[in-house]
Symmetry: none
Subunit: 200 residues, 4 copies
Amino acid sequence: MEEMIREPRQKRAIEKKNKIIEAGFQLICQNGYYNTNTKEIALEAGVSTGIVYQYFKDKFDIFMDGLKKYGDDIFFPIIHFKPEPYDNNNFYSTVQSFISDYIQEHKISQVAHEEITAMIHSNQEVANYFYEKELYVTDCLKKVFLENHFPEEHLSEKIHIMMGLVDLLCHEIIYHKHSSINYDIMTEYVLQSIVNLFEK
Amino acid sequence: MEEMIREPRQKRAIEKKNKIIEAGFQLICQNGYYNTNTKEIALEAGVSTGIVYQYFKDKFDIFMDGLKKYGDDIFFPIIHFKPEPYDNNNFYSTVQSFISDYIQEHKISQVAHEEITAMIHSNQEVANYFYEKELYVTDCLKKVFLENHFPEEHLSEKIHIMMGLVDLLCHEIIYHKHSSINYDIMTEYVLQSIVNLFEK
Amino acid sequence: MEEMIREPRQKRAIEKKNKIIEAGFQLICQNGYYNTNTKEIALEAGVSTGIVYQYFKDKFDIFMDGLKKYGDDIFFPIIHFKPEPYDNNNFYSTVQSFISDYIQEHKISQVAHEEITAMIHSNQEVANYFYEKELYVTDCLKKVFLENHFPEEHLSEKIHIMMGLVDLLCHEIIYHKHSSINYDIMTEYVLQSIVNLFEK
Amino acid sequence: MEEMIREPRQKRAIEKKNKIIEAGFQLICQNGYYNTNTKEIALEAGVSTGIVYQYFKDKFDIFMDGLKKYGDDIFFPIIHFKPEPYDNNNFYSTVQSFISDYIQEHKISQVAHEEITAMIHSNQEVANYFYEKELYVTDCLKKVFLENHFPEEHLSEKIHIMMGLVDLLCHEIIYHKHSSINYDIMTEYVLQSIVNLFEK
DNA sequence: TATGAATGAGTCTTCATTCAT
DNA sequence: AATGAATGAAGACTCATTCAT
């Protein structure tokens, strides 16, 4: 019989579905997709195994829903980045403070970040979702930059590089702890590179 | 009795071990760690299932050995980067040509690259290995840069950022294909950023 | 507390029960007992899953009720067989035309026929029901034959064999399509055998 | 990975495979296909669950192999039917004694017979196998009849009907126990019908 | 009466690893 | 050293049936 995945209407059911997403996503992010099984997810969500398959096609579906629900906060806090108007000459410090916030965010969801990154690289569907999101975020930022009178020329490319640099830096700082690298200096260079991009 | 992992001395045995590493790593890179089983690996390597466990502790061990053996070529082609002496003012074009080589390399081992990246992000041991390697590569590059009279100041940090930028760009170009991004322009900006880093 | 199976009194309830029987029997006949689930049945019948268990003990019960309601048409069209009086010497052609009608009937409910036959052979309760029915039909036919002055001697046995032969032939024609068998000839022989039975 | 069903070469392995076929077929015939699980089969065969899937694609495969191995004895004992030469006028008694043997055979494998019949009617693959076999048996019998100088005309059709009648009769006698039927009489009529077929 | 959400035991199947030879 | 047969735990998913509302 054709699967009938029910979209819950009743409040209690919606809550239950959300519980499953939350529990599933959390466990998967914590322990990895392959190290998390449906029974555990159900247990953590406080429901029976069976009900899981009434709301989700399969385990992957749970993860995917979780990603859609929580992924933005984990991967694209940059969407909240808001530079001051171009002429204020405050870009450097705006970016600077954003980066430190970004690092804080990251630290909280460190493991999740890693597991999801793993999925992005091993599963095409996740990859596609992620890349589309990335594009969308670039566009959002572009709009904000334009509103603040940043010059339009090659703006997408600049923003894309900026996003990459921020990511690179934060990832470095949080995970690598390369002892021979001075992260304050590195931050300084990254900031400077970003500023250079938009300068003139 | 604890099974002993034998380190093969005889030539034939060594060849056999290498065959397993090659087969295992190749299959895992192609199809993913969880989609590859030991039987397949043994089959591909032309050995019996049993023998695998005489040379390797477990499946993961095979992957790890493969990573050690082939990982550098896939992840750190940058180790072969050799800038011309600082004063030649040829840095821009050296980087430029390096990047296009790098992209070629990447394209060949695209799937492997993705699968390994997934492992890096889901397995601590792989992650550790990778980060150490990254550090080592940074150091190598540092040495080369110094030999070519690049100023020592903050050199590690600069190189690290440069590596990140190159990686970022290449990954973008090979996988994302974001339609709204003009990759020539992006490349140009990345190159400029790198040059700026080392510039006086 | 023992769940009580209610026998519906109200018209609406009776209609609902009939809907379930119809839907359930139809689906089971179409897709097989084990490939049909209660949810589907309820859906097809336009009722809730829960209500099913207020009218039926279990899934099997639905099938059984369906069999009782629709089984005769599928399995015993022969009950409508009516030979002309013994002395008319028209027995051959009566049987002949009956057989062709029978085949038409069969063709319509081909799948149902197969699925039910499967149940007859795998479930004792179905088997018992079926055999009783068969006996009953034999008796009915016997009565009709007697009314038309067929000699009473061994009539039950003759009719039973006749029923078997008709079934055999029709099943052959509809399902087997054995290429080396000429079905017109086979029909002719079967007809002759039947006529012989009642002859003299 | 593409399933690799091993065809066992070594004697012990072949024995094991046979054990599984025997155990599986027996259990399925006894309790029904859907009431028999792999664990039981493995247990009965004295092997582990895993090994089952090294020799068989799935549960159905086990059944099918069993059917091929044991099915003939259960369904087509008639293949051993050997009439005396046509002119001996001994056909009646040959058939008679064959039928009583046939009934003995059937009684032994009564349940198996029923379960397999169920499968024939609910599974296309089983049905196909069965029908091909039936055709083959018809051909074999035809050959034997010809060797004994039975007239060739419409021989296939006659034999087919004979097979059907024998089956019909035996099935009646073994399972139905219709109290109003005198089976000796019925047998007599069936025998006579068969003789008539080949007469003249 | 009726709903449909919830249960959870049960099933097939896979596969890393071990073991008899 | 080598084989490949064997193990059996574990996991994803289904579905008849019950229950809270």
